[in-house]
């Protein structure tokens, strides 16, 4: 396979992912705190042992809110070629996906409330076997990618 895809996501994605990561990990933190409370208060375990669940949850929380978004951003790459869309992503499980443009049925851009605050958008393109997406591009770039995919899709004659 060719070298890595050329394009990266918008750098603001990292900030956005830190926020969503922290929000997503909050229940985890609460769960860890509760487990520790149970162990310390009800099971009367020594402090060092009882605090372990909370510490573990804390480490995960910090990772999800700081390191993971960076790693994820660094891995995420995409490229829209004349006949295929090339995607690379994944922190631990690294996947490389190729979607022929001839298979793409339609393309959307989407942006949630949080994404809009950062002026980011997600490009979603649908094939007969489900959607693939390029997340967190700045709005104009996303619009450009969407239009390019749509235009290229129309040009494909190979089936």
């Amino acid at each position: 396979m060719k070298a890595e895809p050329a394009e990266r996501l918008d750098p603001r994605a990292k900030t956005l992912w830190r926020i969503t990561g922290a929000l997503g990990a909050l229940p985890l933190l609460a769960g860890g705190a509760f487990a520790s409370w149970v162990l310390l208060r009800l099971a009367d375990l020594p402090l060092l042992l009882g605090i372990l669940p909370f510490l573990a949850a804390g480490v995960l929380f910090v990772a999800l809110a700081s390191v993971v978004p960076d790693l994820r951003w660094r891995r995420w790459r995409y490229e829209i070629r004349t006949n295929e869309v090339d995607l690379q992503r994944g922190v631990l499980w690294v996947s490389r996906t190729l979607v022929p443009l001839a298979r793409i049925q339609h393309v959307d851009t989407q942006s949630g409330p949080l994404q809009r605050r950062f002026d980011l958008a997600t490009v979603i393109f649908y094939t007969a076997a489900g959607p693939n997406r390029i997340p967190e591009l700045s709005s104009p770039v996303a619009a450009g990618a969407r239009d390019r995919i749509a235009a290229l899709t129309r040009e494909q004659d190979e089936l």
Binding site: E84, S95, R96, L98, T127, A128, E158
Partner: protein
């Protein structure tokens, strides 16, 4: 090609009446029974209730007649038109080239009158509810309608000689199919549900006595009961297969495959060859030693969304699958020698299959020291051996090949599945590497074809890194079919 609006077969009245009575039944039964019970079953109330039932039946019959009179269908101006509705008139128009399939089903009542139900499906509609259903048509009329609808897509009519039968499922094969279907699990859970119901229905007292007499006194009794339940489940599984697959006939007419099957309810389905995305040869666990397999197809609906996974043929010798495919769907009739996985993948396979067991043992080890003897913990280690063997089996059976522009992928869960898909049907393809795979220079290859519920995956786990990348590259759009 235009035609007069036509009525359904009069049997539709009865079917409709029964349907509407059945719908109102739940509303009447409980008050009816309550009424009976409260009056204490004297003659007058029984007559009253019977009278009520008669009124419902008559109303149903009248409704059936009215709705029969209101229902007409026609094929005109390149569209199928269905008018129905007694009070609220409803007219549905389906452009002929949006019709995905014209299937026929023959329920019990339909069989009584020798008529069929015709279902016209488009891809936009949901999977459960047909877009247009004609409750009763004579077989000849149904066939004519199908011709009219499919004729528009079929081009010049060369179909006068009718579909050629490719293969029929014999009686012996049917029983073997049931016996090896591996649906014992499903049947067992059914039995469990039934026994739950039984428990609820039985009075407490009776249940108590039953349990006392039947209570397992010894290990042998328990074994016997388990054995009996297993046997019952097995028989149920065979029964289910017989119901669904009796008279299974696969035939082909030009670019269409026809499947006919069913004991009580006869079903006929159409699969346009052009819509088939992938074919799978499935060798169930019980069927492998007998050299038997079943064939399935993934097909996509109109506009290539919505689709289904259907049985193409329920049971045939593995060796004959190739020949049948050659007749039925020649594009998928390839069986090249498969490329095996690299040796180093074996370790990953064995690790993957033994990891859960090992984890369990280590997690349970402290407990087993405290609660049981050490011996138990050691005995658990024996579980690792079968798990490792299973891993080896999965490694041995995994393989892939590229024949012309068709991708062939074989893998095993318990059943061994060989999937065949042409390159132009792959919606996307990918490689995935876990940290452990990266260290061993391995990768997992995935390709997705369209099918019901968002697609089906063809996957080879632990391919050599380079092989996976070459495979992805060779399947790129516009690639020349490569000779092996």
């Amino acid at each position: 090609m235009s035609s007069e609006p036509r009525h359904l077969h009069p049997a539709a009245m009865l079917i409709d009446a029964i349907k509407s009575i059945r719908r109102s039944l739940s509303a009447f039964v409980i008050p009816g029974v309550a009424f009976l019970a409260s009056r204490g079953f004297d003659a007058r109330t029984i007559v009253l209730v019977l009278l009520g039932a008669l009124v419902v039946a008559v109303l149903g019959a009248v409704w059936g007649f009215l709705s029969w009179r209101a229902t007409t269908y026609e094929v005109a101006g390149g569209a199928f038109r269905l008018r129905q509705g007694v009070v609220q008139k409803n007219e549905r128009t389906i452009p002929l080239d949006h019709v995905q399939s014209v299937d026929t089903v023959q329920g019990l009542i339909q069989r009584l009158f020798g008529v069929v139900e015709v279902r016209v499906e488009t891809a936009g509609g949901g999977a459960s509810e047909p877009d247009a259903s004609l409750a009763a048509l004579e077989r000849a009329d149904a066939e004519a309608l199908r011709r009219e609808i499919e004729g528009s897509r079929r081009g010049p009519v060369e179909a006068e000689e009718g579909p050629a039968v490719l293969r029929r499922l014999g009686r012996r094969e049917l029983l073997v199919a049931g016996a090896t279907s591996g649906q014992i699990g499903v049947a067992l859970s059914l039995i469990a549900v039934a026994s739950q119901l039984f428990d609820n229905v039985l009075s407490e007292d009776l249940a108590q006595r039953l349990v006392e007499t039947l209570a397992p006194r010894s290990v042998t009794a328990v074994l016997l009961i388990v054995l009996a339940l297993g046997l019952l489940a097995w028989i149920l599984a065979i029964g289910g297969t017989v119901l669904a697959y009796t008279g299974f006939t696969l035939s082909r007419d030009g670019e269409f495959l026809y499947i006919r099957r069913g004991l009580l309810e006869r079903r006929e389905a159409t699969i346009p060859l052009a819509r088939i995305q992938a074919v799978r040869v499935v060798e169930g666990l019980l069927r492998q030693p007998l050299g038997l397999a079943s064939l399935r197809v993934e097909s996509a609906g109109y506009g290539e969304d919505a689709g289904v996974s259907t049985t193409l043929f329920p049971l045939l010798p593995r060796k004959e699958a190739q020949g049948l495919l050659l007749d039925a769907a020649p594009e998928f009739a390839v069986a090249p020698p498969l490329n095996p996985l690299p040796r180093r993948a074996l370790r990953r396979y064995v690790f993957r299959s033994t990891a859960p067991t090992l984890f369990l043992i280590f997690a349970a080890a402290p407990a087993s020291f405290v609660v049981f003897d050490l011996a138990w913990g050691l005995a658990a280690l024996l579980l690792v051996l079968p798990a490792a063997f299973y891993g080896w089996l999965r490694y041995r059976d995994a393989g892939w090949a590229l024949e012309g522009d068709r991708l062939i992928v074989r893998s095993r869960l318990l059943t061994r599945t060989t999937a065949i898909a042409p390159r132009r049907r792959l919606q996307w393809r990918a490689t995935v590497r876990s940290p452990l795979q990266r260290r061993a220079h391995l990768a997992t290859f995935q390709a997705q074809v369209a099918s019901g519920g968002g697609g089906k995956e063809l996957r080879v786990t632990d391919l050599g890194s380079e092989a996976a990348e070459t495979l992805v590259y060779d399947l790129r759009p516009g690639a020349r079919p490569r000779a092996r």
